[in-house]
Amino acid sequence: MVLSASDKTNVKSVFSKAGSQVDDLLGEALERMFTTYPQTKTYFPHFDLHHGSAQIKAHGKKVGAALVEACNHIDDIAGALSKLSDLHAQKLRVDPVNFKLLGQCFLVVVAIHFPSVLTPEVHASLDKFLCAVSAVLTAKYR
């Protein structure tokens, strides 16, 4: 999956529009993921997963920061997320299928909060970007 120049522009436009709301967006995406795909909760037995949980908020911030980092280094996502890639391979070992689920929920949240930003072209670019990020995070799994 190769990101074209216009893909990169589109992705940056989403994160620029989201600004500091990225943390909240990811918190909401996580919450939706836990509700929509209950099996994803199995990775967070140590979390309070109720609506408004401080732990979900904190985790949303972490994930959001990683996505922003990937966006800011969109020409070298593998480099930017190298440490996170190691972490997911060695410690977290989240089954690859789950990145798609979080990706879907993130797209839903962007659609809810920024419907005018998520044109079909931007939707395509963002989906590609999320695939690229997932690929990096699972690259060292085996």
Binding site: E31, T36, V108, I112, P115, P120, H123
Partner: protein, 142 residues
């Protein structure tokens, strides 16, 4: 029963023609390889062409109207779609993965239209529904 409520309450406000057209157009734009099934549709050369293509609009309406049948027969989706399943296998030769892709896209379109009304509980119910529909359509494959 609550899930059925969440489904029908959203559905009652859906403009089937607009929503169907948008969902199909986005499918063809976000996952361009799905265009393989629509070589007779004319100009699919760009997102703008796809969105404005009258055959895409008409087919999107057809598909979503059929979805409405599932919603009218929530207890009996498998039977409702038995013939359509055979059609998609024997005549149309559509890989069932495409039903899942369209289902995910439909969720995003609904989210963009209903915003906060598309609650996590709603998303859960609808994600379940599109899964059941996809499964029903794949059921008669051989």
């Amino acid at each position: 029963a609550e899930e059925k409520q969440l489904i029908t309450s959203i559905w009652s406000k859906v403009n089937v023609e607009e929503c169907g057209a948008e969902a199909l157009a986005r499918l063809l734009i976000v996952y361009p390889w799905t265009q393989r099934f629509f070589s007779s549709f004319g100009n699919l050369s760009s997102p703008t062409a796809i969105v404005g293509n009258p055959k895409v609009r008409a087919h999107g309406k057809k598909v979503l109207t059929s979805f409405g049948e599932a919603i009218k027969n929530l207890d009996n989706i498998k039977t409702t779609y038995a013939k359509l399943s055979e059609l998609h296998c024997d005549k149309l030769h559509v890989d069932p993965e495409n039903f899942r892709l369209l289902g995910d896209i439909l969720i995003i379109v609904l989210a963009s239209h209903f915003a906060r009304d598309f609650t996590p509980a709603c998303q859960f119910a609808w994600q379940k529904l599109v899964g059941v529909v996809a499964h029903a359509l794949a059921r008669k494959y051989h």
